[in-house]
Amino acid sequence: MRGENVALGAAGLAAFLALGEAVPRLGLVKEAYFPPTSRIAEALADEVGDAAFWSALGDTLTGWALGLAIAVCAGVVAGVVVSVVPYLREATASTIEFLRPIPSVALIPLAVLLYGTELKSVLLLVVYASFWQVLIQTLYGVQDVDPVAEETARSYGLGTWARVRHVLWPTALPYVMTGVRLAAAVALILAITAELVIGAPGLGRQIAVAQTSQAVPEMYALIVVAGLLGLLINIGARTVERRALAWHQSVRGEVAV
């Protein structure tokens, strides 16, 4: 059944690519708007041979990784502190609920004024957007701690730090990992958006440049790269999640079945 699924999936992908080739060739859409798959593949091959492409990819990945790392550290630390200190959770709940839905792109004008097209602009947006994903998941995770385990640890005389390390963290980790996976995807979206709109160096800016210079196949090639990057990040985040939680019921159960 697994082999059949892979075969069906490959067939679906092939059909998708063939459709991309056929639709413009048959004149259903203008080739100037939507070039056939082969033209996009050609443009992609050209891009791969171009040093500017690789430096743009590097810039995008730098913004993504740095922003994500800051957001994850800040989110986890803030989440644990807010949960552990008495009353802090009640006191911060309304503020978090208010700040979280603020769209990060609202900060674009501010980022432009403060940092122009520097990496810092990208980081401001990426960190703001992905911080909430991690924070909220950490808060949920800490809330899920078994009160009996907590009381047991307390009665054995474990200190605050030991309880955080041995009781709270293992319970919260699956939630935190989900948060990191969501944040990784959001961070890529915001990194590319910042480059696209603000003009910070990276794949997003290359796409904007291709669009304004009417290089349509190149634009599609870069969008394909952005999609593949998103795909790789998703797969990578899932793999990390599975490794980090190898001991956890949800993952062990998956393997056993």
């Binding site: 939507f34 958006t193 969008i223 593949l228």
Partner: protein, 259 residues
């Protein structure tokens, strides 16, 4: 009772008050042009966001958002139900859907500009094309997870067609569908703002960028506040709707959790 209520009220209000006060105090003597005093921002607010501007900028933005979001919801739930119901269709579509979902939605703005020009259609299509993926994929997951015993029961009672879809499949998938709708809402707001920042002659995103380009900094800050308020209000409305529609589900979960 009243004491409990007051304590709760205190917890809700305390930190926001402290933060706003801190912002007010820290920025009060500010001469940094990019960080104007909060007093100035709030003074500017009523002058900028007049009833006239609400009509010419805020309403069009919200209409575009709702249009694109509704389109994405209809398409996402319909396609997701079809894909989720048939195992083979799902196997064929899965890799393509995974790829399409992984494409960061904002890069679609230049593509859709090619096809749809720079008018409202473009913005609605951009919003819909970004929002549709979380809804679609969550619907697929939800439909796939419909209890097989219930499906068999429905079949043996002769419940089929629309009735089966409405009372069983969509109902039991609705918590998942709402999770997708929630994710789509924040993507929708992002795309609304970005599509207006690219090319537009009205809308909140357009206005905020205009302020920034003309160095009307306090005005720009009020725009950021408006976008924040809008995001907050929409998510509050969403929560209300969700609580109404999924009331049965949350009730069910609460009773199973407390045996």
């Amino acid at each position: 009772m009243i004491g409990r209520f007051l304590a709760q009220l205190f917890f809700v209000v305390a930190l926001p008050v402290v933060l706003v006060a801190a912002w007010w105090a820290a920025s009060d003597g500010s001469t940094d042009p990019f960080w104007p005093p909060l007093r100035t921002i709030l003074d500017t607010f009523p002058d900028v966001w007049t009833a006239d501007r609400l009509r010419t900028d805020v309403v069009p933005s919200i209409l575009r958002l709702l249009g694109g979001y509704a389109l994405a919801a209809v398409v996402g739930v319909a396609l997701g139900t079809v894909i989720g119901s048939y195992r083979r269709v799902r196997a064929v579509c899965e890799p393509v859907l995974e790829f399409l979902r992984a494409v960061p939605p904002p890069v679609l703005v230049p593509v859709i500009m090619l096809f749809a020009g720079i008018g409202d259609t473009m913005k609605i299509v951009v919003i819909a094309s970004g929002c549709v993926w979380p809804i679609l994929l969550n619907t697929v997951e939800g439909v796939r997870a419909v209890d097989s015993v219930m499906l068999e029961t429905a079949r043996s009672y002769g419940v089929a067609g629309i009735a089966r879809l409405r009372h069983l499949v969509l109902r039991s998938a609705s918590p998942q569908i709402f999770a997708g709708l929630r994710q789509a809402l924040s993507i929708g707001i992002i795309l609304m703002v970005i599509s207006e920042m690219f090319t537009a002659n009205n809308g909140i995103g357009f206005t905020v960028v205009q302020f920034q380009r003309s160095f009307a900094i306090p005005d720009m800050w009020t725009g950021i506040l408006v976008l924040g308020l809008l995001g907050f209000l929409l998510s509050a409305v969403f929560r209300l709707v969700e609580r109404r529609v999924l009331g049965w589900y949350h009730g069910l979960r609460a009773t199973t959790r407390r045996p």
